[in-house]
Amino acid sequence: MTQAGAAPAPTQSGAEQGGAAASPAQRPSLFSRARWQGVGSALRSPATLSLLPLSLVLLLFFIVPIVGMAIIAFTVTAEDGSTGVGLDNFMALTSGSHSAAIVNSVQVSLVGSTIAAVIGTLTSFCISQIRSEKLDSVVAVFTSVLANDGGAPLAFSFIVTLGNAGVVYGLLNLGDTGFSLYSWQGLVVMYQYFLIPTMIMVTLPTFVGLRKEWREANAALGGSAPTFWHRVGLPIAMPALLGGWILCFGAAFATHASAAVLIGAGGYPLIPLNIGALLGQAGDSQQVAMALGVTMVAIAVITLFAFNRLQRRSARWMH
């Protein structure tokens, strides 16, 4: 096994090294069986073999692109063609359409996620109060489906419903109220379609998981229902509520497809839309797109980090 396993390794590497014009004489150890035996058998161990394909996919299609994006974002091309590290591409974000996009993105996500958090919490509280296991599991399935909804079909269905010629738009005379689907209001309303389910999905298990014993212990100790919610129920649910809110913010922030189809390019600047538009152009705009991408990743990472912290805090209580 070790014999056969080690044998091909040197020849292979030798051929590669030869191609790269490295002198074998300088590295005699390269051909010694002892040096390659360990590597060869490690590469053939089932663990390494099983992990290799996934690592390759992650490396090629995720890590390298993200690192490449970051490198380009921080690379500055001087007038003489030489390149260096700098924040010039990020400076370009502080003005004009891009700064508006950052502000808009944060605004839409903040308003959208807050509304979803309130409605979602109320709904999942009511669902937990109905106390039907069947309803709980139906809701769990539907929310997880809807939380992943988005894209062109979502945008189309809202155009047909709330667009200027939409069915509900006409029925409710929304034109008189000044509402427009193609504004930040429209985005907020459309985002609710997957944000509310996300919020319900995250908070329902917590509300359902509030043990009957806690309620009864509260009553046996003389507490009323409001006492229970004030002192026990809400404090326990709070991490999940905040966590769900943050997750909604992140989801709204990252949304590109439905917004792109709804608004198109240039109608209402948002970070993802601007990245999409810049990628379609040539020249320096690519570097600015990468800087926007890095900004976006940074905000998303901070958001998820906060989400994780809150989740962990509630996990400590709940076991």
């Binding site: 996934l54 299609f61 995720f62 109905i130 489906v145 992943n148 062109a152 269905s157 509310i196 590109h256």
Partner: protein, 287 residues
């Protein structure tokens, strides 16, 4: 008291209505042009060759994505659970990260890379690779990135599936009985995580059918991109197809979620228990 009980349903009903109305409006718009029922909008399926091409492209991508996902993720996770539990947190972070990185940012990164490769000039190896990955007949770049986009969800599902079964004991027990490790994994482990694997497959299919950002940025006309492109001159057709697509992805996600629960060992045990209870109560009533 009763009023209070019923009032609990109000928010639930409101949200359900909010979810249902856009769907109903879309269906209405698609099949009731001018108030009369007609499937004319769907004639685009036979008339527009670009839709067929987009559908073929989407299906090819989907099949390749599903295969790649299963073939890369399942062995990696089994290996980690079995032989290298210390690597699990690292793998978890790596597989969850794509959730944090918005698809459009991944698109940006991929564009950056392909652009760099293409700039190496005609005939160079990187340029050839870049062309190869973006081949409109077989956009492998989408397959790779879609696998990455699926990872956060499918990793969790399969990881949870593996955690509920005594993997090590199974493999050791099976080895004592004379089975090889890989034989055990095929005969014992895979059947026990069938639910998680089905979830992963259906989730991946749903994602491939619905993904827009990457495909649009990389100028690959999949069905969602086709929908957007066609909407400017034949909106009714794109809504009609969107309804179909939406129903399909919802159906797939529904099946995904249900199969995750249905085939999980706990779920199966619960159902067996229920059956048993039914039998015993029937017996008790009969005697």
């Amino acid at each position: 008291m009763d009023a209070l009980k019923h009032s609990r349903w109000v928010p639930v009903a409101a949200v359900a209505l909010y979810v249902a109305i856009p769907v109903l409006c879309s269906i209405y718009y698609a099949v009731f042009p001018g108030g009369e029922f007609s499937l004319r909008a769907y004639s685009v399926i036979t008339e527009d060759a670009s839709l067929a091409a987009a559908a073929t492209r989407t299906l090819t991508i989907t099949v390749l994505t599903v295969i790649t996902l299963v073939v890369t993720l399942v062995p990696a996770l089994v290996a980690v659970h079995l032989w290298a539990p210390k690597l699990r947190p690292i793998l978890e972070i790596l597989c969850t990260l794509p959730l944090v990185v918005p698809p459009i940012a991944i698109a940006a990164g991929v564009m950056a890379l392909l652009g760099m490769a293409a700039r190496q000039g005609r005939g160079s190896v990187p340029n050839a690779i870049s062309q190869f990955l973006q081949n409109p007949d077989l956009p492998l770049i989408l397959v790779g990135t879609y696998v990455v986009l699926c990872l956060p969800f499918t990793f969790r599902s399969i990881d949870a599936g593996l955690r509920t079964i005594p993997l090590k004991a199974m493999v050791e027990g099976s080895a004592i009985l004379g089975s090889s490790t890989f034989g055990t994994i095929f005969r014992v482990v895979i059947p026990n995580i069938r639910g998680s694997m089905l979830f992963s497959v259906f989730f991946a299919v749903a994602l491939c059918f619905g993904e827009y950002s990457l495909a649009a940025t990389l100028s690959q006309q999949t069905i969602p991109v086709w929908l957007d492109d066609v909407s400017s001159n034949n909106f009714r057709a794109s809504v009609a197809i969107a309804v179909l697509l939406n129903m399909t992805t919802w159906g797939l996600l529904l099946v995904a979620t249900l199969s995750a629960g249905r085939f999980a060992p706990a779920g199966r045990a619960a159902r067996a228990e229920k059956k048993l209870q039914k039998k015993t109560t029937q017996k008790a009533l009969a005697s």
